[in-house]
Subunit: 238 residues, 2 copies
């Protein structure tokens, strides 16, 4: 039975971190909302489902409903051959993924610092302030951290954890791609600070299945409905 | 060898979710920063540690360094007898914990909507807006969700997952306690909407080891240096 991924149709968003893992593994999966189904909101609103998710994305594997990106990847990683074999390192991988989760949430909040329930235009001034802080302090803090993680990986700097490709590497690629989309000037200016992170992102992009995926119509485009949004007025070089 | 918990001295903060699990289990642990040690920042800044954490809290179990609350609890849960025995339900537990993580992050951002690097006083106007949204929309969404989770748990409404106490129940207690501290008026006014959540929080508070802990000097007080802060001007009844 194929894995069922539930996420908003038309958006990369948080679902993309799961899609990349499923694609790299060549796994059998259905991107349910893209089939025109309305099952996602039904499941979230269900009054009988034993384990309801709070929000998309979530994965269904048979009866089991698994919400949250890092949780889905921790569940899928070993099954897809994208997690360290050493069980202890799986908690290292999950820790790294949760830091990526935090970086993604902060990237989102640059354009929605006050509320998800308001339009960007109605929180634009706060968004400018938050974006300036994010560019000046948070991007360097997050990417500088992952640069150190790669440098200090006992198995070498090609991977975030262990000596083989893991879902964490795929997610780092996506984080970098998203930040470059949202803040192209700021990212270009500072690229030289995180050479290993950028080498890793490039290597993931060249992986055969990932590069096929990226040019397929399964890969949605970044857009101003997603998490990483390009508003030129927020991309100020700090 | 005792577990070593690393978190800022003097704050409940995110460390508290881990402390509650260790305390409920009667586990042997050291709250390292409270011993006057400076090991936490050394480890975060280490150039040789194989698996550096991004930020506190993190747990050390021997050589293994495990960052992020949900990750620590997923690791400790089975060892402390505070996770479901069914391995599939452990992913349900982790999903619930990650929703608590998100609620906690949003509670934090009510007083720091622009940046952690600025004082509250310098982002007070944005904080008022964000708090109003949080009280009006997000608290009901999160606690309403957990009310449904309890209602729909096939093992009964006394626990968030499975038929026995888990770390998720302990964390729900802490979330409710924190929200009540930060937003007492708003929480009092709406308490009747989430009866099962409040019954669970009360039950956890009465657990012998938790009630002993809560009156011990190991339990720090809530304060305006923590995640849940009581600023009366933010507690507007929506």
């Amino acid at each position: 039975m194929p894995y069922e991924l539930y996420y908003w149709d038309g958006l990369q968003g948080r679902g993309e971190f799961v899609r990349l893992a499923l694609e790299e593994a060549g796994a059998d999966y259905v991107d349910v909302e893209r089939t025109g189904s309305s099952a996602m909101m039904q499941l979230i609103g269900s009054k009988t489902e034993p384990h309801i998710p709070f929000a998309p994305p979530f994965l269904k594997d048979g009866d089991l409903v698994i919400p949250h990106v890092a949780n889905i990847l921790m569940y899928l990683g070993p099954k897809l051959g994208l997690a360290p074999k050493d069980e202890r390192l799986r908690f290292v991988a999950n820790g790294l993924q949760l830091t990526i989760t935090d970086a993604v949430a902060e990237a989102h909040d640059t354009h929605h610092p006050i509320s998800n329930g308001l339009y960007y235009e109605d929180q634009k001034e706060a968004a400018k302030e938050r974006s300036a802080e994010f560019i000046r302090h948070r991007i360097p803090k997050f990417l500088g951290y992952f640069e150190r993680v790669l440098n200090q990986n006992p198995a070498g700097p090609k991977h975030a954890v262990g000596k083989e490709l893991s879902y964490v590497d795929l997610s780092l690629f996506q984080l970098v791609a998203g930040l470059r989309y949202a803040f192209p000037k700021s990212m270009r200016r500072r690229a030289s600070k995180w050479p290993r992170v950028l080498v890793l992102a490039e290597a993931v992009e060249q992986h055969p299945r990932i590069s096929d995926y990226l040019v397929s119509d399964r890969r949605l485009a970044f857009s101003e409905d997603g998490i990483f949004r390009h508003y030129p007025e927020l991309d100020r070089i700090g």
